[in-house]
Subunit: 305 residues, 2 copies
């Protein structure tokens, strides 16, 4: 029942100091997702021994190269490894055309279904949902249409209190208890209340990924109280003008967003190539929002209780 | 006056064990070239501290992803770094269209001229030439149109024998001596023969790059006696059938080509992901052609005398 986020790339548009462009691998209750897929993502997935062939959904925030140029290589590799499962791709219009053209010139066709889901930048909408989680878009403010992603676990089943459980209870009744129902007799009378036999469910986690954006108050209502917020921090406050001009954020601005949205933890990334040492960005962010970490490639944030 | 080849990627189509897809950086008499540009080439160029912003000519052997998917990222990075010099790109038709489409969806335009030179696969032809070297194509046998590249230095200037040089000789006369001419008086009579005042020029080097190909006797006349032959060795002889089916070569076949063409040195690469340890491929090749090396990323073959 884990919820984990592994950083594959933490670099801004220009890779530097062995930092790779944006990409993150998520594992949520045995489902595997890729968020953005910058150049070299497949090498990072392999390097960190992640089960990339189990990824069934890939979310691309926008069509700047540093957020998707690793996708074609990953698709070719999955093809070489004889993938047959469907793969769902969520992106703004255009990526489908780019993939089709590259396949054409390679005189190749994928031997699995690549199912393209077109993203509209605004308003926020749910683009994926199953029985345990949902993914919705976060409209961002950048030079081209761009969205972040909010991933939320749904309520988890209540935990059975084994010490209190009567012996003659059926598997069907256990399933019913997990969903929060009471145990009744054939006439509908309550034999045991749910509270008598169960404990509260595990926490449902939430994660917001804000890839490339100027700080934007209008997203606060969407990211409010998420457990972890990844917010780009391309620059430091000393380059505030540059951030404004390029529609990126400073570390301080990212931290101010985290604070205003009362998130649990802030993760900063998308670092400009001008910063070899990232510690000053961390210090700047922490001066506004203490529970901040740097996105470090290969590191996993594990939200399991 | 150096001639050096730096390996950026030695992997076959599926990257593995931190080996990157095909790419090589060449420096020849202060000219800088890129041959193939697999995913991650820009990161490798940066990692090995190579002056990638000085590359003016990029040669792409064919449009399988592992040979060009790093190009778009490199172009975006050069753009970010405010390149203004022309960049020449040599490739089969299609790559121009792929680049244009990706720029369109990024709503971006390059601020330097990208000059596209379309390659025909056959017959062999000179595609680049200046006063010190030429690049010609080597038609290869692969699943899609594919060429290798033969890079040949032209004859170098004769060296002035300073011990023998008369004192009153002009700069113009020195330039003339370097080109192999005699020194004559105003009536055209020889005062000094060229041999009296000069020594033989430095060696002119040649390099043949054969990216993806089944072994093909028809290229022997083109690669004959090159100083260094890079020939793909995707498989070992034990996978000969697989090599035949995919139009790749085994280490033994690459070595047989080297031997038949009487080359100086063989470099093997484009290793399948099935080989973690490359030593057996080297041993197999060396059993046929002793002067063989593995293409190791970050290593430079320097042909300077």
């Amino acid at each position: 029942m884990s919820f984990s986020i592994t950083i594959l790339g933490s670099s801004g548009a220009l890779p530097a100091y062995n930092r790779f462009p944006s990409s993150q691998f998520l594992t949520i209750q045995n489902r595997h997702f890729l968020i953005d897929c910058g150049e070299g993502s497949q090498m990072q997935l392999m390097r960190f021994n992640l089960p990339y062939h189990k990824i069934n959904h890939i979310f691309i925030s926008h069509l700047h190269g540093d957020h998707y140029l690793g996708l074609m290589g990953l698709l070719f590799s999955l093809q070489l490894q004889r993938r047959t499962n469907d793969l769902h791709l969520y992106s703004h219009r255009g990526l489908d055309e780019i993939i089709t053209l590259q396949l054409k010139h390679a005189r190749s066709a994928l031997n699995f279904n690549l199912i393209f889901h077109e993203i509209d930048s605004s308003p926020s909408q749910i683009i994926f949902e199953d029985d345990v989680l949902s993914v919705e878009t976060i409209p961002l403010r950048h030079k081209i249409p761009c969205v972040g992603f909010l991933i939320k676990e749904k309520s988890k089943p209540r935990k059975i209190n084994k010490e209190k459980l009567p012996k003659n209870i059926s598997l069907q009744q256990i399933a019913s208890l997990k969903l929060g129902h009471e145990i009744r007799d054939e006439n509908g009378n309550v034999l045991f209340t749910n509270k008598q036999l169960t404990l509260p469910p595990k926490k449902s986690w939430s994660y917001a990924y804000c890839s490339d954006t100027a700080p934007d108050q209008s997203i606060l209502s969407i990211i409010k109280k998420v457990d972890v917020l990844y917010h780009e921090s391309t620059f430091m406050e000393s380059e505030k003008e540059k951030a404004l001009e390029t529609l990126h954020s400073t570390a301080r601005q990212a931290a101010a967003q985290a604070k205003a949205a009362s998130v649990g933890k802030l993760l900063i990334g998308h670092f400009s190539a001008r910063y070899r040492d990232l510690e000053p960005l961390l210090v700047e962010a922490q001066s506004v929002f203490q529970n901040t970490s740097l996105a470090i490639e290969g590191e996993t944030i594990d939200l399991d209780e």
